[in-house]
């Protein structure tokens, strides 16, 4: 009889699990800034085509964890990451990994909109150009248009593509940055408080965009706004003092969280 060993079955199951849902896997992730330990053995998985929100009080490690996902911490002196993080089951901290290529696959949008001091067109075209994604001018035009379309900015920007990106309003600039991140066809988009500098209407537009982008991308978002986490995400992870306290379905997290610290934090109570 042709029977698989128990270990082989388990391995096959693990693989099918990750194929079905897990885009990134963080295992025992710790981060040190020099002597100071900022993250303690975090085990957190990021599901494919899902918006995962990271919440927690200031200094809890949520942004630190976010930055480990595309090795942004590499740029900080004295920062050390231990544990294992995989993207499609490949270790992103492996010495053979090209960090530039990794960041094309795992893009990032920051708190403050930071367009390049160039035209709207060039803001989008820059990434595809350095990654060699467009062979001809018309290829590039197509990428710029589709990226602006996806970021919901095309109608507002199509007649002013040669104007500086910095001339847009704050909300438009943030959507330009999202378009720029989308232009290199990443698989995962990391967002570090993308709406904290925006007014409620611009925030609603970005949230609508996050909802649409989820079909094609996997999104991880750090937010200080509990309501935003509840509105945009399907999974929520709560950090506290460098530890992952709880990770759960967003519906469960905001109606009946398992951990008392999560409960106190989201309800605005003293712990």
């Amino acid at each position: 009889m042709n029977m698989m060993s128990e270990a082989a079955v388990e391995k096959a199951l693990d693989k099918s699990m990750s194929d079905a849902g897990l885009k990134m896997i963080g295992k025992d992730v710790s981060v040190y800034y020099g002597e100071k330990r900022a993250l303690f053995d975090v085990n957190l998985n990021v599901r494919k085509n899902t918006v995962t929100a990271l919440i927690g009080p200031s200094g809890c490690g949520k942004s630190t964890f976010l930055r480990t996902l595309n090795r942004m911490n590499d740029t900080i002196d004295g920062c050390r990451v231990t544990g294992k993080i995989t993207l499609d089951n490949a270790d992103i901290y492996d010495p053979s990994v090209d960090v530039v290529e990794l960041r094309a696959r795992v893009g990032m949008v920051f708190q403050k909109p930071n367009p390049f001091p160039k035209s709207i067109y060039e803001n989008i075209a820059y990434g595809p150009r350095i990654h060699g994604l467009a062979k001809t001018k018309s290829d590039m035009d197509r990428i710029v248009e589709s990226s602006l379309q996806r970021a919901g900015l095309w109608n507002e920007a199509k007649d002013r593509l040669q104007e500086p990106g910095t001339g847009l309003s704050g909300g438009q600039q943030q959507r330009l940055c999202i378009a720029r991140a989308v232009a290199v066809s990443p698989e995962v988009i990391l967002m570090d408080e993308p709406c904290s500098a925006l007014d409620p209407i611009a925030t609603a537009k970005v949230e609508e965009l996050i909802h649409e982008l989820r079909t094609n991308f996997t999104i991880v978002i750090v937010t200080h706004s509990m309501q935003q986490a509840a509105r945009v995400s399907q999974r929520t992870a709560m950090f506290h003092l460098g530890n992952l306290v709880e990770e759960n379905d967003t519906d469960k997290m905001f109606t009946n969280p398992d951990d008392q610290r999560t409960q106190d934090y989201i309800m605005g109570r003293f712990g």
């Binding site: 509990m226 309501q227 905001f254 109606t255 009946n256 309800m267 003293f270 712990g271």
Partner: protein, 236 residues
């Protein structure tokens, strides 16, 4: 439980708890008075119960408004949100209890002319006592927020149902004995049903409290011993 960072939020929640306790106290009083009015044929007391009902109606509306405003202003989550939704449900149940007391009081006039057999009055009083004990206990559980006690109240509703069933049989017997009993006995049957329904509302409240405190509905079917629905079906 720890308090909110914004203290006025706690004030909002305390307001709701206080108003619901007040509603509970009044509903309890109305039910007790309606049954006393019925047994003693006390028309003045019956009239008082009828007019007290508007106080409960107003309280329910005010609680609903407070909940709407609190949700709009504070975007409550987790147990705060369950607490607010629970307040609306409990206020609605208590308002219904008041309505049932009022309905019993309205029937006092119709029944007052007929002399009530002592045994039947005792049966109704006993039924009301049980319903009132259940209502009182559930209000205590509301104050203590104990999911275990909420669960035990829910499991006891069958006592009331059993007595209701036996009253139902008794009233049928009186009606068969003498057709002149039919009118007062029909009113009494409605009164008994009103009281039995109060037990159901107390059980609803117990379930709501269980959900408010634990975040999940109580498991299993609630016990049911009201077998009057099948009376006569087999020609009995």
């Amino acid at each position: 439980m720890s308090t909110h960072i914004t203290s006025i939020y706690d004030e909002d929640l305390k307001y709701l708890t206080r108003r619901i306790s007040e509603m509970g106290g009044l509903a309890e009083q109305m039910v007790a008075e309606s049954v006393r009015a019925l047994v003693n044929a006390d028309l003045a007391l019956a009239q008082k119960v009828i007019s007290d009902d508007t106080i409960l109606d107003d309280a329910e509306r005010q609680i609903g408004e407070k909940v709407i405003v609190t949700i709009a202003r504070r975007q409550p989550v987790a147990s705060d949100l369950r607490e607010l939704m629970g307040s609306v449900r409990i206020a609605a149940d208590l308002e219904r209890v008041g309505d049932l007391g009022k309905n019993t009081a309205k029937r006092v006039i119709a029944v007052a002319s007929a002399s009530l057999p002592r045994q039947l009055a005792r049966g109704l009083e006993h039924l009301a006592e049980l319903a009132l004990v259940q209502l009182k206990e559930v209000l205590d559980v509301y104050a203590s927020r104990s999911p275990e006690k909420a669960k035990s109240i829910r499991e006891r509703d069958n006592e009331i149902d059993a007595i209701y069933t036996s009253l139902f049989r008794e009233l049928l017997t009186y009606m068969m004995e003498d057709p002149r009993n039919i009118t007062p006995c029909t009113h009494l049957l409605f009164c008994a049903k009103n009281i039995e329904r109060i037990g159901d509302h107390a059980t609803n409240i117990a379930e709501t409290i269980y959900y408010m405190t634990t975040g999940s509905p109580p498991e299993g079917e609630r016990p049911k011993d009201d077998t009057t629905t099948s009376f006569g079906a087999t020609g009995a």
